[in-house]
Symmetry: C2
Subunit: 148 residues, 2 copies
DNA sequence: GTCTATAACGTGTATATGCACCTATTTGAT
DNA sequence: ATCAAATAGGTGCATATACACGTTATAGAC
């Protein structure tokens, strides 16, 4: 009774579909530390060294405003703090000691998820997938709107 | 003391990152017909022949509840209608005449976006990317929770 | 030193996503 | 025919995502 998924000519739909499923896969693991995949990604890119919102957004290639909201649960959990910088417009972000501990816990769980993903999909295939995704992003960049 | 936050070899983060950017690319075009990429995908998978929510969810490999909400704007716009089926539990979905017309308009715009994407990233590379994404999904499926 | 253009953020709005939980209907065993 | 199990679907909740618009503060021109 299950209709096989249609072969999509749309690269965007393909990406969204795979991303949905892969996210579900990782989050099966990350649930044990109370994190979503994006939240883990934020923690992994934060440190005790303060860093501005915009700088973080650029490193993650995420929209600034997505970050503003995505950080809220992490701040509420006491893992991240925001302080004003010399430039009073900036909100410098850094990990608290609890945040460092949570990042360490999360890293271990993430590592197991990544290992299991590579076991399920074949290690060399995942390496090739990673490379293809990076290459795609590089090729796409010139066609994207300037992120001002 | 603190580990420098280097980009991690996380396949999930890579996928989410590329998906974000590719979605932005497509939606630059789809804005002209008032559609998001996911909404276009829904329209493209609907027809005048009625189809149950669950059947559509399986074809798109989307969560059932995501679809419930994603269809609302399309229904509100008068492009999609829901009728009860012989099985009174089902909500059969089909396109209205306006929906068929909108789908046609959207297809033309999408096709231009896809062409431009292939021009920007190289046609053969996009073909390889599409294949890799499909292959990844196939390999991942056995490791995913049963979608009951 | 003032004034304005720019830069760094936040908020409002609309959709996207999936899990937990709930309701209504149908099926299947007795 | 009856009732429990299974099925189709919805709702509450918590993020994820990005664009338009507004606010505050710094920087550059004069």
């Amino acid at each position: 009774m299950t209709t096989p998924p249609l072969p999509l000519p749309c690269t965007g739909a393909r990406l969204r579909r795979l991303t949905r499923r892969v996210t579900v896969f990782y989050e099966q693991y990350l649930r044990s530390v109370g994190l979503r995949l994006t939240q883990y990604s934020l923690l992994a890119h934060l440190d005790t060294t303060p860093q501005s919102l915009l700088a973080l957004a650029e490193r993650l290639e995420m929209d600034r405003t997505t970050l503003t909201r995505g950080l809220k649960p992490l701040v509420a959990a006491g893992w991240v703090v925001q302080h004003p910088g010399r430039d009073a417009r900036q909100r410098l972000l850094s990990l608290t000691p609890d945040g460092v501990a949570q990042r360490a816990r999360a890293r271990a769980v993430w590592a197991q998820a990544q290992l299991d993903l590579e076991a399920a999909m074949d290690r060399s295939f995942v390496a090739q997938l990673n490379h293809t995704l990076d290459e795609a992003l590089q090729r796409l960049k010139p066609a994207l709107p300037e992120d001002n």
